[in-house]
Subunit: 405 residues, 2 copies
């Protein structure tokens, strides 16, 4: 008798018919004797509709109130699912974020889970209920409703699985699993059957939309086996698990492409201590995450400072950058939004040298100019012009042998 | 500096434009120096849409889960209103039922408020916030979300006003106030400027939709002055207040017509003690309210037992009635659904005799047959065939001098 947490995304619960199909699946597992926790997103499109409604109410919707508004989406699906299961004669009970004991910090719109008091959920499971939880939401210590950001239901599910020490957290989505790269860009992309938390984390950070980044962090931290699979068939998907000794570690497991960044360059910044701290301190204060940072030496006691932020933060980052540029007497600010970050990820990099060389050579052969480079232990990323993105992905997918079965 | 609770119904917040008009009104009062609590219904149509969605999920939607679903409607308007007020530079904060401290019993779908812990609301008011409360909802002592039944936002507003000792509870609606009768039936209906709690209570019970019954009970119990007025203009509406010595008490203040009842008759019931207790005990156990009851003596130790229930409860009442009829060896059960209950209400009845005689005579002159009669200290009701309802209303409105200015 396994304890399974199953999370279904927006397309899996897009209408009553699909919710009914999800209920079929949950019922089947329940009747097999498994103890079931079902975590649901809002119906596809609902969150966007609510955001648009908020946009009509206010040009800059208050974040606390936006969370109250957005939370209705998951509340709706959780209630519908519970009533559907009950009407089949099953014991079921819905829980909103605060009822499920999901305590978060105060960061409206992108709150982080601090802890889960799973007492209520355990009690309901012990009573034989199928537990249905509204994903994406929690409550802070004032009792204010918070939401966990885009894809937050993944994090709800994994955190609940960790808290309940579930045997598996199944993430049902509209794709079959995690792919070596985006199949829409590269037809030769293949499903990965097993991937480590670290690789998955890099891929999620780099724009693979299949799992929210924080859900993978949670899974890694609490060692929750995550199974990413399709809600539209019974196929096995991708197991995201701890890196193990006998795990085959290809040099490169996947290639990602992130079009959602913008580049900001401060030209002719005085080359003095404390300048970077001023720039990035101001951005951090505004809650803006900076991704890549490069500083080029110039002659004459000046330097160029380049960094990337997500498109969402770009406008605000520019406002702040302009103010800081005045303060530090920097020259002009240049920006680029038509850029793409192409990355290759693989645990095998740890023990293989020359991966970067292969990557740069493959791109050079296609005349793709590299604008920025950053690396981690298991990743190499290059920023290139957006128009070369697809070509670069296909080139690297082939260069690292991912085209082969 | 008055403390005002303002409640706006579904048509007053039907879309962003109307919500904006409500925000104008609230802002104006706030800038006049009044401390404001705004209680909101769901946007017009939303609750019905949610009920229909639940109907697609289940033929008999579970009541606990239905409440979770329905509560999203008011959550949406409260969040939108708060963000709109904030975007105008005002301090505002939304509260859901449980955040507003509205504790109810467990009766999903028609929960009753047990008490209000207005600590959070007071604190927000003291901080200078416009307090925006999602009407219609509360939480029971398990933390489960409950709803207060149709029109429950009125009750939320009056109960909050009572708890905060507000100077007035203004109920903004799509009509100008309380009328002597339904203007759609009787063009000579006039707006009543002052009415007592007791009269208002009778009118609400009898189908005047302008205020939820329990809101009037609350207002009476805690002596909350209630002002029923239009959200579309600045006109004074109807003040619902305590009966006062110098209050002019017309013999009849209003005429109501309730088409929402059905009649059930047990024919040839054994005329023994305990029979009524069995019938009405079984109905009460199922939470079905019985309105009028009449027992006619017959010959031969048998009697006919007739009562009315609301149309909502009719089907369930019939199921129960059939079972009980078997147990008590009653004869057949007869039903009538095409009926109307016409009532005249007036504090003045307490000191005037002959009101019933005037009523019966007026109906008889129009050849309208009376099927059932019931009375209270300030009300006389007659059940007639539905097809005569409009005629009866106009006839009585004239007979009791309400046509005159």
């Amino acid at each position: 008798m396994a304890l399974r947490v199953q999370k279904f995304g927006g397309t899996s619960v897009a209408d009553i018919e699909r919710i009914s199909k999800v209920a079929d699946r949950v019922q089947k597992a329940h009747e097999n004797g498994d103890r079931m926790v079902v975590v649901l997103s809002a119906m596809a499109g609902v969150t966007n509709n609510l955001i648009s409604l908020a946009g009509q109410a206010s040009d800059t919707p208050d974040k606390r109130e936006l969370d109250v508004l957005l939370a209705t989406g998951e509340q709706t699906t959780a209630a519908l699912m519970a009533m559907m299961l009950k009407s089949r004669g099953l014991k079921a009970k819905s829980f909103l974020g605060f009822q499920a004991g999901i305590h978060t910090d105060h960061m409206s719109g992108k709150a982080r889970i601090r802890e889960i008091d799973s007492h209520n959920l355990r009690e309901a499971l012990d009573e034989g209920h199928i537990v249905v939880v509204a994903g994406f939401q929690g409550a802070d210590d004032h009792g204010d409703i918070t939401t966990l950001g885009r894809g937050g239901s993944d994090t709800s599910a994994v955190a609940i699985a960790a808290s309940l020490k579930a045997d598996v957290c199944e993430i049902f989505t509209d794709v079959d699993g995690v792919y070596t790269t985006d199949p829409r860009i590269c037809p030769k992309a293949r499903k990965i059957s097993r991937i480590s938390y670290d690789e998955m984390l890099e891929m999620a950070i780099l724009g693979a939309k299949v799992l929210q980044i924080r859900s993978v962090e949670f899974a890694k931290k609490y060692n929750v086996p995550v199974h990413v699979r399709s809600s539209f068939n019974e196929e096995e998907g991708t197991m995201v698990v701890n890196e193990s000794k006998n795990m085959e570690s290809p040099v490169v497991s996947g290639v990602t492409c992130d079009m959602n960044e913008a580049r900001i360059t401060f030209k002719r910044v005085p080359d003095q201590p404390g300048i970077s701290a001023k720039v990035f301190g101001a951005l951090a204060e505004a809650g803006i995450s900076v991704d890549m940072i490069i500083q080029n030496s110039r002659t004459g006691g000046e330097t160029d400072l380049t960094f990337t932020v997500t498109m969402d933060d770009f406008e605000r980052a520019m406002e702040i950058s302009k103010k800081v540029a005045d303060q530090i007497h920097a020259g002009e600010i240049r920006t680029a939004t038509e850029i793409a970050k192409i990355s290759v990820i693989g645990l095998g990099m740890k023990s293989h040298s020359g991966v970067a060389a292969v990557m740069f050579k493959a791109l050079a052969e296609e005349n793709i100019n590299i604008r920025m480079i950053s690396t981690s232990e298991i990743r190499i990323s290059c920023v290139i012009l957006a128009k070369y993105a697809e070509l670069a992905v296909r080139t690297l997918h082939a260069a690292f042998g991912l085209d082969k079965e």
